[in-house]
């Protein structure tokens, strides 16, 4: 029984392990922090959110300040998919973002069917068009 946990991660409840959903790589034990099974890169945010204003003319350019903000990119060590990203100040401990009670998870999934793809879900209802016709007196006649 495999349980989908994110767009990129799943847990194999039988072997109690985190796996990459893209290549099947067994990353680490399910009771561990899954990030320990990945490789990480400290990305200068200016490489992604590039300065759009001339940095010679302006200090603020639409790029985050690399002394305040870094992007940690987590990759699958086998297929190179970017599994997670974290925006943190330099040196801030990475957050243990998922910590499940694996025994409870096993009990919960004992009677649930296995899913290979996550369902999409309904979107909330929205107006079909954006106009103000309903505000006019004529439309109320």
């Amino acid at each position: 029984m495999k349980v989908l946990v994110t767009e990129n991660l799943r847990i194999d409840l039988d072997s109690e392990s985190w796996e990459c959903r893209h290549c099947g790589k067994v990353l680490i034990g399910a009771r561990e922090n899954y990030k320990r099974g990945l490789v990480v890169y400290d990305r200068d945010p200016r490489q992604i959110h590039k300065p759009l204003l001339d940095p010679v003319k302006f200090k603020l350019t639409f790029a985050p300040d690399p002394d305040w903000c870094r992007i940690l990119e987590y990759y699958c060590p086998q297929c190179g998919t970017m599994m997670e990203t974290e925006y943190l100040p330099p040196g801030h401990p990475p957050v243990r973002d998922i910590e499940f009670d694996i025994d409870a998870l096993k009990a919960q999934w004992r009677h649930r069917p296995e899913l290979s793809e996550a369902p999409v879900g309904r979107e909330p209802p929205r107006r079909q068009s954006h106009d103000h016709s309903s505000h006019t007196p004529e439309s109320r006649k």
Partner: protein, 752 residues
């Protein structure tokens, strides 16, 4: 031996004396810290112990919702406040005990989690107070969020509903009015250094008797704000919306009986509690976490950590905000915990469980943990006029830990979505209009935020604010008739300022504003995210960029347009980089700008932002990347550098094999540059925050909190937080300039 033990009769006398002679009815922590619905009243218990006709409940619910919708629409049509015109309002109904049961279906959902607090205050303190009382025809006004609410720009009109002489329900209308007499126009002063700079601070008090507004009290309120016309008109608008709602309720009571209304209101709450417990129980037991970093107090740049952990165990959910930044006693960005919970609630009903009935019961099954005297549980004496800084984060960050809890479920209540943009990115204005009226308020651009990417499609552009899916941008022409602001190049989507991902975020748009025909006009902005990205990504996407405030000063754009109409393009990047107007001063600033007077024709420019991207950029369909280019959302460079798509730059036809090669090469490069986590952490993690960055909040241990007090880094125990005091930024700047001057003159020059 010095202990005094008065006889019990004396003690009773003393207790009675104290209860009858209270000096001041301030905000009541027992009310404000209790977000749950109250117990059933005796009448509710009696009625619900009997068989309930679900068809009648459904019918009554439908009638009540229709009446609420009518009241809401009345305010949208008649309200004077800009907020009323775009839908920043709500009409609501409560049980007799003041538990909020239903709101108008296109009202602001956040109000469903806070409008009950002032009613509970009225019930507790004014019902039996001989000088006040609660009678048929009474109406109560309120705006101070310390007594419950989102923030002090919102004013409510609350009215008890009597039937056969008995109180059976409460009715209310709430509108974001804006101007409230604060130290800066518009009601959200970033410059407030104490709560006494915030303007009107109304605890709930009676302003309507016999269904009429008391003119003496109304005059007092008009005399306390910059815009007496707004205050006058909207008090009447709210009252008459509530009176219409009252008429409808009286018809329901006549047709279905009071029992049906009482049962419907209570059952709506109890059914929601049961459903939320069921939804929590289907989530996995465990904890998911996220951190967020607003980067400004709106007076100076400081990293303010918000630390969130959501724990599920069985049908209980606990939201733990301990480890967040301490409060700041002379900055206006603190919030009280009830307002913070209200906006967390908003995030749940906008992004996670949007299908639930909108009532306060949604959070009844949830527990919360806060550090007292933190930024998100500020003490009542802290200024909170710009609480939107933590509150806007509250509406978005739970998307991430809730997605990590809920992704596995066999069914969804809505699509999984990355956080939307979470800054109130709009110009706040004040001054004298072309019609000779004093005003202060803010522009509807606050409603144009980009949505985060979703599990199945891209985020919507400029879709809504995080607090209300139904809010509108209003009519620009109408705005220009009433205030001297002129919009130049508005609504152009912010090219390349995207949360990149498998499904990209929706984008914000550029706002370029100036004014004319006023001799006294100015602007302020109250956002963070100019240094540290504001919107966070989900599942391996990227967040939003950072956004500066841009100004072009020292010119009159209307004169320039006469001289050179073809040479000026209203595009922020082009204007700032090309600098086509001679003699102008071009500058960038962080988006925390206190009110400043401008000259006619000067340009103030900012952006509504993008949400977070969803998923790995290398998984984005290359054809969708080309569509982004066609729609002028991204540049060719972004398509190549970020998405790694090979394409013909003229035809935009994708080179599929070339793209596969580029992406495979990038995957290999990632593996090569990535460091195993344990080794990375050893090298990356520092024992303390960077010395050069003012940092507030926990670092590696939620029990130890860093802060900045009077310019110095301090360290506190989380359970003994003390408010921080910030230096006046002008004093800091003067000291720095004096130092530079001294160095330039040489050390031997005597000091002043």
């Amino acid at each position: 031996m010095n202990d005094v033990h008065p006889p019990s009769a004396h003690q009773e006398l003393m207790d009675r004396f104290l209860s009858q002679n209270r000096l001041f009815y301030g905000p009541d922590p027992l009310i404000i810290e209790d977000h749950r619905i109250g117990p059933r009243s005796a009448r509710e218990a009696e009625l619900l112990s009997q068989p309930v006709d679900p068809h009648q409940v459904n019918q009554v619910r439908g009638l009540v919702i229709a009446a609420l919708d009518e009241g809401n629409t009345m305010i949208e049509q008649m309200g004077a406040a800009p907020g009323a015109k775009w839908g920043d309002l709500v009409v609501a109904i409560y049980t007799a005990a003041g538990d909020l049961s239903m709101i108008a279906p296109h009202g602001v959902v956040g109000f469903a989690a806070c409008c009950h607090y002032p009613i509970k205050f009225i019930l507790k303190y004014w019902t039996d107070e001989p000088t006040v009382g609660v009678r048929e025809g009474d109406g109560f006004i309120h705006n101070d969020a310390r007594y419950g609410g989102i923030h002090n720009t919102d004013q409510s009109m609350m009215m008890p509903l009597f039937w056969n002489g008995k109180l059976v329900a409460w009715l209310s209308a709430t509108v974001h009015e804006g101007e409230n007499g604060s130290c800066e126009p518009g009601g959200m002063p970033a410059a407030a250094e104490s709560k006494f700079d915030e303007g009107l601070k109304m605890p709930p008090f009676k302003v309507v008797e016999n269904f009429h507004i008391r003119r003496d009290l109304q005059t007092f309120l008009q005399n306390s704000v910059r815009d007496p016309k707004l205050q006058f008109e909207d008090m009447k608008v709210k009252l008459h919306a509530v009176l219409r709602l009252r008429e409808r309720m009286l018809r329901i009571l006549a047709e279905h009986g009071e029992e049906a209304l009482i049962v419907t209101l209570r059952k709506n709450l109890e059914d929601v509690v049961e459903e939320v417990r069921r939804r929590i129980a289907e989530l996995p037991d465990g904890t998911t976490r996220v951190v967020a970093f607003p980067d400004s107090t709106l007076r100076e740049n400081v990293l303010l950590k918000l630390n969130m952990a959501i724990t599920v165990k069985g049908d209980r959910m606990t939201i733990d905000m301990r480890g967040s930044s301490p409060e700041i006693i002379n900055r206006s960005i603190n919030t009280n915990l009830a307002s913070f919970k209200t906006m967390l609630f908003t995030g749940y009903l906008q992004n996670i469980w949007p299908d639930l009935p909108q009532c306060m019961a949604v959070f009844t099954p949830l527990d919360f943990l806060f550090d007292a005297n933190s930024l998100v549980h500020g003490s009542f004496d802290t200024p909170q006029a710009m609480s939107l800084i933590p509150l806007f984060k509250a509406m978005t960050i739970a998307c991430i830990p809730m997605a990590k809890l809920g992704y596995m479920l066999p069914h969804r209540y809505t699509a999984t979505v990355a956080p939307g943009y979470d800054q109130p990115a709009t110009l706040i204005y004040g001054g004298l209009t072309q019609n000779g009226e004093n005003v202060g308020n803010f522009c509807a651009d606050i409603n144009g935020m980009g949505q985060g990417g979703r599990a199945h499609r891209d985020g919507e552009h400029s879709v809504s604010p995080p607090f209300a899916a139904h809010c509108d941008l209003g009519e620009i022409e109408l705005m220009e008739e009433e205030i001297p602001i002129v919009r130049l190049g508005a609504f152009t989507l912010t090219k390349d300022r995207v949360g990149f991902g498998k499904f990209r975020s929706g984008m914000g748009y550029e706002q370029i504003a100036t004014f004319r025909r006023s001799g006294l006009w100015g602007f302020m902005t109250g956002c963070c995210g100019s240094l540290f990205s504001s919107s966070q990504p989900l599942f391996g996407g990227y967040g939003s960029p950072a956004y500066p405030l841009c100004k072009v000063k020292g010119i009159d754009i209307f004169e320039e347009l006469k001289k050179n109409p073809e040479g000026i393009k209203f595009d922020i990047i082009d204007l700032m980089n090309r600098q086509p107007i001679r003699g102008a001063t071009y500058s960038t600033h962080d988006m925390g700008m206190t009110f400043e007077l401008a000259a006619p024709g000067e340009l103030y420019m900012m952006c509504q932002g993008a949400g977070g991207g969803y998923g790995d950029v290398l998984l984005r369909d290359p054809v969708a990347v080309m569509t982004d280019i066609e729609e002028d959302l991204i540049s060719h460079d972004t398509a190549r550098d970020i998405y790694k798509v090979a394409f013909d730059p003229v035809s935009l036809i994708v080179d599929q094999e070339g793209t596969l090669r580029l992406r495979e090469s990038e995957r290999r490069a990632r593996i090569a540059r990535g460091v195993p986590f344990d080794a990375f952490v050893q090298d990356w993690v520092t024992p303390e925050p960077p010395a050069a960055v003012p940092f507030c909040g926990s670092w590696d241990d939620p029990a130890v909190i860093y802060g900045v007090h009077a310019g110095q880094r301090v360290k506190m125990a989380a359970d003994k937080l003390a408010g921080m005091f910030m230096l006046n930024p002008k004093d800091v700047r003067i000291a720095r300039l004096e130092q530079e001057l001294k160095a330039a003159r040489g050390d031997c020059t005597p000091s002043d």
